[in-house]
Symmetry: C2
Subunit: 474 residues, 2 copies
């Protein structure tokens, strides 16, 4: 493992090229009102939830079907112009930013659930369907789709970043839950990766090559997902701890015992305070675990008893149960809004979010030293974590007008990533590399592995038009 | 979906090139007694459990460490000579056959368990460690590695073919259970894919690109695997059914209800008879489900009750419990020996094994028509299946001296694969493509997707030396 280089956290130089007029004309001719060059539209498609400022793309195509995506990519390919797929714009790492200019392909109108196969526990959707929409549309089947990043992201975007969320500790990430894809390649061809069979050994795993490829190899247009029966019994609980260490040690023990807990989220006392203010709750302002148990009534009871015992042995108190669906929803909505609660706690601030993930046995080592560093820095921050997976997020809340604060935040992130890599972890558990972690990726994977990624990129996208400048420099 | 072409099931023409003397000299100089050109050694490395006959590789290197593999690959690369990784030779699809000549790299001596991390539920092993060895060496930790193809294959080979087995219905396949790899690339460089973190969004998923790549992109030298706590309670049961249809419909219902069954295997009446003869058992010679339940004592009881009810409603009878570990081991050993039991039932025969996998709702459609066709053909066969995943194997038992029988078997397989693809399934659930399913892969994935695989292959192995002639023709 090399030490992260000083430049790891800098975003690469922006080198925008203008979209050629001939391409704009061709796009207008093909797409009519589905093509926009209005500044407001371009600006909306030129930013995400990251803290970077980059000029917007030169045009936006509102794709309504796969063939639209294919035609747009083909036209862009003919002109060697970059293509940036866009869902709802909730990326945290600058994935959507037009650092080399180009055309944004908005798949938001491709929002149909194409096929529900309840008997096979699968659903096939267009890329612009959001995770909440999936669950809304399949509600009557008694099934659900568990992956839940904080935002109501599109399934296309979640596939492209290999997203996960609070349920991943039990149900896995997009890596485990995407069965098959339809993809528009860099030359505008439409291919399918995988079938609806639950497993397969038929050739290279193109599905998982595209899951997490951040739009750099092609545009994902359709996704077949795994679904799960809504558990017969669900119960949620909140437990406060004297310290973060006590909470974390409880989690480590829960996981090591193999308790099939469905969710186990850490929220530090700072963040509980922000969440209380934002969501009008009265949670104890102490480090807290927010948990959920899925199973049969007897199974849930058994899990809860085991967990309660473990928590007690680490000073956990005020174990409170949310028994009604309404109470549960209120708690989890509060958790999912933690990011926005934090942003509101410091008006005008922007957040730089960390995303390290370490083997569970190293979680306390990684987290506690980083809490100490963050406290010492004086920068306001929030801390939440999918701690059952060893994944957590500091959000450093900085004043964008104070460059010094960004420096402090980046330095904290830098130390945290170094520590996580030293402990056998990764710089990003679920947000992706985007612009912000390109240096860290090299530190983590090594030059040889990143070179292999580059070789694949060059082979599948010889003109370097698919979301160029993300994941690695070419 | 295109209809499979008539030539789908034919293996490609063998075009062996001799290993250049200069390379042999260089290998001898570097490896001494670790390099063999003895005919008996070459022949042992030139066959697997498939029914193909191809002349052996020109030399065998017995690698003892990663650097040995790297040096062997580098030398072969300098001479443009094919490299064929070899574990214990249990492939069913001709993966190990030297169809273009070359050097076999035997990783069997790389059989060290390198790191057990019980607190993280991971283990890191060299490629030559077998699945039984893993479980033997980690026994004291209270953890186990669930993936169990019939044979005691190496973890390297299982990774390369994306293997699974009887536990996959609950624990997933190698796709879900390999966390990270060390790989020797086609140029002899050593890279690592992934970390020990449970999840990551750090760049392209090279781990899953290599899992299932059948030695065509590089040689897997180390593997980090996920482990699971040995369940507090395990119970196994056997249940007989009036017909295969009744057994299959029970399985479909079990899966659709979301019962977390750990194993559910179908064995048809033919095969029960063969297994009884081979393993000295007295199982009822009727279609049978062999099941296992993992969990807490209460959880296992709950699952078993649900399943027993479902089975009864489909005419299941003689639900018999194997309560002691010895009884369970005896039953599962019998299941794992079904292949060998079948081979022995027709002395001198060879088996052609099918490997289709379909969405569970289509399992009955796929299986029952194929049983009818097999019965009508008059060819002896066995039928076993990981039916919880929609995956099953016919083994057509043919006399290698009667070409007509091979034709009949291939025709049956052909019809079966066509049917599976029409039903949204795959031609191979767990054995891989190898030599035998190259045509079927194109039928399944389409020309565009297979061309993408070829592009990746050409980019990562520009000299086409890594197990050439497998998965697809270049």
């Amino acid at each position: 493992m090399n030490a992260p280089t000083a430049a790891s956290h800098l975003i690469p130089e922006v080198q925008q090229r203008a979209v050629p007029q001939a391409l704009l004309d061709a796009l207008k001719a093909r797409f009519g009102e589905q093509c926009s060059t209005a500044m407001a539209v371009r600006e909306q498609h030129g930013r995400d939830e990251s803290s970077f400022e980059v000029p917007p793309p030169g045009a936006v195509i509102f794709a309504e079907k796969t063939q639209d995506v294919a035609d747009a990519v083909r036209l862009c390919s003919e002109h060697g112009t970059p293509v940036i797929p866009f869902g709802v714009g909730t990326s945290l790492e600058g994935h959507l930013l037009a650092v080399q200019g180009g055309v944004s392909i908005d798949v938001g109108r491709m929002n149909k659930v194409l096929a529900v196969n309840p008997e096979d526990l699968t659903v096939t959707v267009q890329a612009g369907v959001t995770r909440k929409q999936v669950n809304e549309e399949i509600k009557s089947t008694g099934l659900f789709f568990p992956i839940d990043p904080g935002a109501d992201a599109t399934i296309g975007g979640m596939s492209a970043t290999r997203a996960s969320g609070t349920n991943a500790v039990r149900y896995g990430t997009m890596r485990e839950n995407v069965l098959a894809l339809e993809v528009v390649t860099a030359s505008g061809e439409v291919i399918r990766t995988g079938t609806r069979a639950k497993k397969s050994s038929a050739g290279y795993d193109l599905t998982r090559l595209f899951v997490g490829s951040e739009g750099t190899l092609g545009v994902i247009t359709e996704i077949t997902l795994r679904l799960y029966p809504i558990p017969e019994a669900i119960s949620a609980a909140v437990c406060s701890f004297p310290s973060i260490a006590d909470a974390v040690h409880s989690v480590i023990e829960i996981i090591q015992l193999g308790v099939p807990i469905a969710r186990v989220e850490l929220i530090d006392h700072n963040t509980v305070r922000m969440v209380n203010a934002h969501s009008k709750l009265a949670l104890r302002e102490e480090p807290m675990l927010l948990m959920e148990f899925h199973g049969s009534p007897a199974g849930v009871k058994e899990q809860a008893e085991t967990v309660q015992e473990i928590a007690s042995s680490h000073g956990g108190k005020a174990f409170e149960w949310a028994t009604t669906p309404e109470e549960r929803t209120r708690l989890w909505t509060a958790r999912h809004n933690a990011y926005f609660a934090a942003i509101q706690s410091r008006p005008g601030c922007r957040a730089i979010s960390t995303d390290t993930c370490v083997p569970i046995s190293r979680l306390a080592d990684c987290l506690l030293d980083s809490v100490k560093e963050a406290d010492e820095s004086g920068l306001p921050y929030f801390l939440v974590g999918h701690v059952g997976d060893g994944n957590f997020h500091f959000g450093y809340l900085l004043d964008p007008n104070l460059p010094k604060e960004r420096e402090v935040a980046e330095a904290l992130n830098h130390k945290l990533v170094s520590r996580a890599l030293d402990l056998g972890g990764t710089c990003t558990g679920e947000h992706g590399v985007g612009l912000h972690k390109m240096g860290f990726l090299v530190d983590e994977a090594g030059v040889g592995a990143v070179d292999m990624m580059r070789t694949i990129k060059r082979a599948l996208d010889p003109k370097n038009i698919m979301n160029p400048g993300k994941i690695f420099a070419l």
